[in-house]
């Protein structure tokens, strides 16, 4: 049983001017080596939920525990230090004139020593292949690179939890592959990744757990293999499984022993079947 990183108890959130509850009593537990994807339509409460994890929003009622500590009274800075949050639009984050300075912002805000900062920045530069653009003006980069830089600037202060808001939006193939590398690296180092995404292909292939949200409630919370089989929940949340899963569901006519979430698995499954048949 691995360690619990984030736990919410009856988390309710009502926005100051809203009458509707954006979150209606959410109970969740996120474990240390989870790669969690939160899916659902806009307005389902995904962003509201994760903004409680780094303190940008405070519960109207209920509790949020971060590493088993009650977060009530903790500042955004304290919580963000452990729970890094990458925003959807990279242009909302960049304010320096060089990529390297952008990477230094987080570590400096969190009072890293010079040595710590150097070490941690070297690590992200290496990992994300940023060496050639360190001296460039970040506002002149293309969208994908900008986005990678903003993820790097969060990783630079070594958070234990990485929250990614819509990470694949606007990314090209090259960017998606880089993103997968980052997620895998975080996972291998024993850290937690939480992403909010509309990109079902990506979610299906890259998460160990999927949370489906609809109108401020968690509809389902399971491994992706189970989630993408649950047509009732998917319909209610108005999301569609990846194309390949739909195809497999059609072919196996409901008698599924294993959910197919990637093309690779599909090929293996049906190649094996052919082999068996011959």
């Amino acid at each position: 049983m691995s360690e619990t990183v984030i736990r919410t108890e009856n988390l309710v959130h009502v926005y100051p001017r809203g009458e509707v509850k954006a979150l209606k009593g959410v109970n969740l537990e996120i474990k240390k080596d989870d790669v969690v994807s939160i899916i659902g339509q806009n307005g389902s409460g995904k962003t509201t939920l994760v903004r409680h994890f780094n303190g940008l929003l405070k519960p109207t009622s209920g509790k949020v525990y971060l590493f088993d500590e009650d977060t009530e009274g903790q500042s955004v800075a304290e919580m963000s230090r452990r729970c890094g949050y990458v925003f959807q639009n990279p242009n909302h984050q960049i304010f320096t004139t060089k990529v390297i300075e952008e990477l230094e912002v987080g570590p400096r805000n969190f009072n890293f020593t010079a040595a710590e900062m150097k070490e941690s920045i070297e690590r992200v530069v290496e990992l994300m292949d940023l060496k050639d653009i360190l001296e460039q003006h970040p506002m002149t980069l293309d969208y994908t690179t900008k986005k990678i830089v903003t993820i790097a600037s969060v990783l630079a202060f070594k958070p234990e939890v990485l929250i990614l808001d819509e990470p694949t939006g606007g990314l090209d193939e090259v960017g998606r592959q880089m993103l997968t590398r980052i997620i895998n690296m975080m996972h291998d180092e024993g850290h937690t990744v939480i992403m909010i995404s509309h990109d079902m292909d990506y979610v299906a292939e890259n998460s160990s757990r999927v949370i489906v949200m609809c109108q401020g409630e968690v509809l389902d919370d399971n491994v992706p293999e189970k989630i993408f089989l649950n047509s009732e929940v998917l319909e209610k949340a108005q999301v569609e499984p990846p194309q390949i899963t739909q195809l497999d569901l059609f072919l196996s006519a409901g008698k599924n022993e294993e959910t197919i979430l990637s093309v690779e698995k599909f090929i293996n499954k049906y190649n094996a079947k052919r082999g068996g048949n011959n």
Binding site: N42, G170, E173, D201, L247, L251, A253, F266, G276
Partner: protein, 288 residues
């Protein structure tokens, strides 16, 4: 007979003050009634191409070019880009930051005011465009209080009111949730059915495979492929070399050891795939 509405002839373009040639010697023709999908990774020149097709580049915003683009029989080199807006309307990615009016109906009417339409005609066209884009119930809303999908539909409506024959959508869906994305694609398909020529830049390969008849692949300013969707999307080797995915079902069909037969060859849409793989259906059960 196919009627060419946009002809691009040996067109190259570079931005002012930059040495990089962004579009390199492109030649292709888009016929009236086509639905063309443009794919390619970042920096492929997709947006530059879209802006060139309406003459913004180079004639309004500057830059250097060679070759020519002919829209509806008229060379942009001669018209310097004027008059194109009667034929082509373009919708950009970030719809929200392009709204300038206080309400949905004023936003739809904005372009018509600029072109000096009569008020009677405007009222008629606003009604038409709002209905076509499913915005009839929100005339009085502020454009900022719409959902992402509604905002994109409003952007389309404000162009549609001018009744162009071609509509270009430059990454209109990349920031939308699945509902919003489907809304936009459904709208575009409906417009296509009514005879509009559609040019759509999008990252969503599966959706394009389902909707577009032709696919144009750009890579670093060069035209890599321009053909029927089927031919392009089944050429996995070529697409992957230029960092473009193929639809999942196509990938699956190409990956299986044995090929199956369907009426339309290697599938690119879910529907085709269901038919194509029909032989596999229930095969596993039999085996058990």
């Amino acid at each position: 007979m196919a009627n060419p509405i946009i002809e691009v002839k040996n067109y190259s373009y570079k931005y002012d003050g930059s040495d990089v040639i962004v579009l390199k010697d492109l030649s292709f023709t888009i016929n009236e009634g086509d639905f063309v999908g443009i794919v390619g990774c970042n920096k492929a020149g997709k947006s530059t191409l879209c802006k060139s097709l309406v003459g913004i580049l180079p004639f309004v915003a500057g830059g250097s070019w060679s070759g020519e683009i002919i829209v509806d029989g008229k060379s942009l080199n001669e018209t310097r880009g004027s008059g194109v807006t009667d034929v082509i309307g373009i919708v950009f990615q970030d719809a929200e930051s392009q709204f300038t009016q206080q309400t949905v109906e004023d936003e739809i009417a904005f372009a018509m005011c600029n072109f000096g339409y009569s008020r009677e005609l405007m009222i008629e066209r606003v009604k038409f465009a709002a209905e076509a884009c499913g915005l009839s119930s929100m005339y009085d809303r502020s454009p900022y209080h719409l959902s992402g999908g509604q905002q994109q539909r409003l952007a389309v409506a404000s162009i549609l009111a001018l009744q162009p024959r071609v509509i270009i959508l430059d990454e209109s869906t990349s920031q939308l949730d699945p509902i919003g994305r489907d809304e936009v694609f459904r709208l575009v398909r409906e417009l296509h059915r009514q005879g509009k020529t559609i040019i759509m830049v999008d990252h969503n390969i599966e959706m394009l495979a389902e909707y577009a008849d032709k696919i144009l692949v750009l890579h670093e300013g060069e035209l890599v492929a321009y053909d029927e969707s089927h031919k392009v999307f089944t050429n996995k080797e070529l697409l992957n070399r230029h960092s473009v995915r193929v639809p999942q079902v196509t990938d699956a069909a190409l990956g299986l050891k044995e090929t199956y037969t369907g009426n339309s060859g290697t599938p690119i849409t879910l529907k085709e795939a269901e038919e194509y793989f029909a032989g596999l259906k229930g095969r596993g059960d039999q085996h058990e």
